[in-house]
């Protein structure tokens, strides 16, 4: 049972709760979300405690993460999008913390569940659509009609554009979920080989060391991709191409 590589994704209720017939139990998934929040708050608040003009090591790490997100927003969505900085920064640090916490052995990876990633990407999708309509009114629907297309082609193009708009939150969530889940499953499968091969288990063990490094890169990269795509969608809503 413990050898099942999918066992790590099981959700266990820790405190059973129910509100209006809906199961809102505090699960191991919730524990890691709270842990991620604590890690982020500790990282930022304790890092900026000194507020030194010449930052120390920790403070410069906090400042670097701020600048990374600030530059990302400016380069992809322009200076007008800077007002959405708090949202993008929270999104980036939350996903990054969840992904990296999941790399600790025996821990739980929250982002390997599509409900979580789809909730986040759905939130981005709805938010961006509301921003688009509030800035451009009904003119936002021009996004679906490419400029300079003949009216006959528009009959085909408009459904395609609408579908491609609705696919975005799906591909956004599937990308994060699939990468995290595939990586962690692969790690567990190879861990199983280490035991069953006995002495020759050294080979999969060596492979797992390399794979762990790769998984840490994927964890950081996926958090970055998720937030940069949120910025790109924001850019479409603000500038309307």
């Amino acid at each position: 049972m413990a050898h099942n590589p999918l066992d790590q994704f099981r959700i266990n209720r820790i405190v059973e709760l129910e509100a209006g017939g809906i199961d809102v139990s505090f699960t191991n998934s919730s524990v890691f979300m709270v842990a991620a929040l604590i890690v982020i708050c500790a990282f930022v608040i304790l890092g900026m405690r000194q507020k030194a003009l010449v930052p120390g090591r920790w403070q410069s790490m906090v400042e670097m993460s701020y600048e990374l997100v600030a530059n990302m927003i400016r380069d992809t969505a322009g200076s007008e999008a800077q007002r959405y900085f708090p949202f993008i920064f929270s999104l980036f640090t939350f996903i990054l913390a969840l992904n990296l916490l999941g790399m600790i052995p025996y821990s739980f990876t929250v982002t390997s569940h599509i409900v979580v990633t789809f909730a986040m990407s759905g939130f981005v999708f709805i938010g961006v659509t509301i921003i688009g309509f509030s800035r451009h009114g009904i003119g936002y629907t021009k996004l679906f009609a490419p400029k300079g297309a003949s009216p006959i082609l528009l009959v085909i193009l408009i459904p395609i554009e609408i579908i491609s708009y609705f696919i975005r939150p799906i591909s956004l969530s599937v990308r994060l979920f699939a990468n995290m889940m595939a990586g962690h499953t692969m790690l567990k499968v190879f861990a199983g080989f280490v035991i069953s091969l006995g002495m020759y288990g050294i080979l999969p063990l060596a492979f797992m060391v390399a794979l762990t490094g790769l998984e840490i890169i994927v964890a950081i990269l996926q958090a970055y991709i998720f937030s940069i795509l949120a910025c790109i969608y924001l850019n479409d809503a603000i500038h309307l191409h």
Binding site: D75, E161, S164, I167, I170, R175, Q222
Partner: protein, 96 residues
């Protein structure tokens, strides 16, 4: 004697402000590592086809028009997936 020219200074300042503003405008997408691009494009294409197939099957079950909505939606979904890939590729090409 060098004349003090506030107007010239102002236009110089104006040019500098314009330069900074231009830097702050959205450029084409920031250079991602190639691994990031590969991750993005693959899933974009697949999710288009998957959305078309699942949406088509559900519409067929609801409207009882098997298999027509599946055929139409699969074609549209695939086209939309390719459209997303082209959009990503176009922003990457602008950079070069």
């Amino acid at each position: 004697m060098k004349e003090h020219d506030p107007h010239g200074e102002m236009s110089e300042l104006d040019a500098r402000i314009k330069k900074v503003r231009a830097e702050n405008e959205p450029k084409s997408e920031q250079s991602l590592s190639s691994a990031g691009v590969a991750f993005r494009i693959g899933i974009d294409l697949i999710s288009g086809v998957a959305f078309g197939v699942i949406g088509g099957l559900l519409l067929d079950r609801w409207l009882g028009t098997t298999p027509w909505m599946l055929i139409v939606m699969m074609v549209l979904g695939t086209a939309a997936g390719i459209r997303n890939v082209i959009r990503t590729a176009a922003t990457l090409n602008e950079e070069d």
